[in-house]
Amino acid sequence: MKKKNKIFRQTVLLVLLSVFVLSVFTACGSKGHAVTDKASLTGARVGVQIGTTGDTDVSALKHGTKVQRFDKGADAINTLKQGKLDAVVIDGEVAKAFVKQNPDLKILEEPFETEEYAGVIAKDNTELLDKVNKAMQELQDEGILDKLKDTYINEKGDYHYKEKVTSGDTLVMASSIDFPPYEYFDNGSSTPVGFDVEMAYAIADKLGMKLEIQNIQFDAIINAVNSGKADIGFSGFTVTEERKKSINFTSNYMETQQAIIVQKGGAGNGQSFGDKLYNSFIKDHRFNYLLSGLVNTIIITIFAVLIGVVLGFLIALVRVTHDKNGNLKVLNFIAKLYLTIVRGTPMMIQLLIIYFVIFASVDISKVLVAIIAFGLNSAAYQAENFRSGIMAVDAGQFEAGHALGLKYGTVMTSIILPQAVKNVLPAIANEFISLLKETSISGYIGLQDLTQGGMIIRSITYEAMIPLLAVAVIYLVIVLILTWLVGKLEKALRKNER
């Protein structure tokens, strides 16, 4: 009872502390250089989205311009609102959407630069390129592209394209679904919408193919297309000479501008805490992003733990057998190599390699990829858990078994392992807890886990604190429940021994 109180108090303290720290940081934004036109960007603190033309061209500005590069436009906007940036350079239509949501921001009249959008297709896939270009020409001629532009860009009319082909060959499109009005989530659903999305459905129909959309980080899309993970990428790609070296562009479908967003000055955020809560979770059932993400997180964790336990156990057996009597030299070498590589490289890199390299040309569910990647990673740590558990059973029992004429395998399975497993159960359960938290990087392969669910809400509301804190609290609650269960398990095991 006393312990429970302690955990509760610690939790409350932790949450309060994090809220305090967050609000201090939020309040501490300092005012810098005022940006009023393109020329005054020089020397200012400017936010851009990684891999966009704004990124390349703002980074080329000299004279002390401090460029901050963000994965998501919404992060840049947030940072601007906190006063840590003087301006954000971002696609014109995206800028309009952001400013509409944030009355305290404005777009400067003078654009940063003009650019053209096109889709991307792998260099060697000229057959698809020709077909897509032909389809785009037809859509242009039929006026469908103009109607979509009216709906999404000019905001007049309510034309929407309905997909027709729903079976047969699949056209896989990669897109970073956080770029309104081109591609974004709306109405709390996990179905992407936007100009690019509907155009892609129209193109797929022209090709007689069914469209499948993969949500992938913007800077990973070209990779995904080149590796065959996706056939085509539509994600507001600006045509640049640099990109042409690694990828083929389709015909242009949009001419647009990179706009400069700045703060109106002085204006506060204008949203009450209750509004923020409502916008983050209730409106359009946005809590569904967290729920479906949580389901994926739990599925990945449970199956990865299973792989980790089974594989880790086998690796530990190989290692211990080799240490004890010198057998299994080759297997031991492989096991050691495996442990060295897995424990010597970051989990995130392993996940990316498994998805983009090893399974590059295989059509496989992302959840399955994540289960394999996290399972293989966890196995290395579980192996060491099991090994230390086996080593902790005193060698004397091996000797006693030997003296009674029992074979190594018999002693191992009937005497040592039952004790070792009992020793390591708590460590294995703890690995389960760390794995749960580690799966939060699943978003890097475009998998919508709990963390990614929070990110999607943030990309819709441009409000970081509420979804991030909510995600943190959900993880914390699950971890506390698991910790409590591990504690019970440990107690039960200790009781059993007496």
């Binding site: 029992q397 006693a400 003296a403 004429g405 009992k422 007496r498």
Partner: protein, 245 residues
Amino acid sequence: MSDVIMHVEKLTKSFGDHIVLKDIDLDITKGEVISIIGPSGCGKSTFVRCLDLLEKPDSGHIIFDGTDITDPKTDTAQVLPKIGMVFQSFNLFNNMTVKDNITFAPVHHGIMSKPEADKKALELLDWVGLTDKADDYPSRLSGGQKQRAAIARSLAMNPDIMLMDEPTSALDPEIVGEVLGIIRKLADSGMTMVIVTHDMSFAKEVSDRVLFIDETRIMESGTPEEVFEHTKNERLQKFLAAVMQ
């Protein structure tokens, strides 16, 4: 010759560059009780552990009941159960009850059925005075009880010889007696035994022969009287003077 149960010939053992035992010869006769004494680190424990192949001898032969157990072709799993071993640290199987510790090996080897083994275990536990501990796990036993259970476990295989590596060294002084009592009983029953010990008065009382191992060899060998009372060996005299204080 027919009375010799174990014949050791030119046994040599070293750990790395350190030679522990060199060219040891020994004949152990049926029913004989041999105590091995000597200073710490002299190799007396290594010697009995070699006899059970817990240490692999570098060279030499151990002929047990007509079989050369150092021959790589020998199936040691058949022979080793006939050589009982009692450890300083008991080495009971902690995941089994006392009774299961005793019955596991005989049943596994197919020497006895489970009911037979259970019956035998209860007899042995009665013999070592642990009937009421049959269903307890080792963690609930005192050191002396553990060692008595370990002796019962060895006896369940009907060994022809019992090796004991400092069987009372890990015990508190007041419970040494209960284990020595069992070993004495075993000696009286005619069991062949080799006991490594620090307990000189017990060695004197129970042994037919005492070996003094020092400087990689058996330096002195004889009846307890010869070794303890009339030795002319200077090192042995020094050793005895030191331990008898």
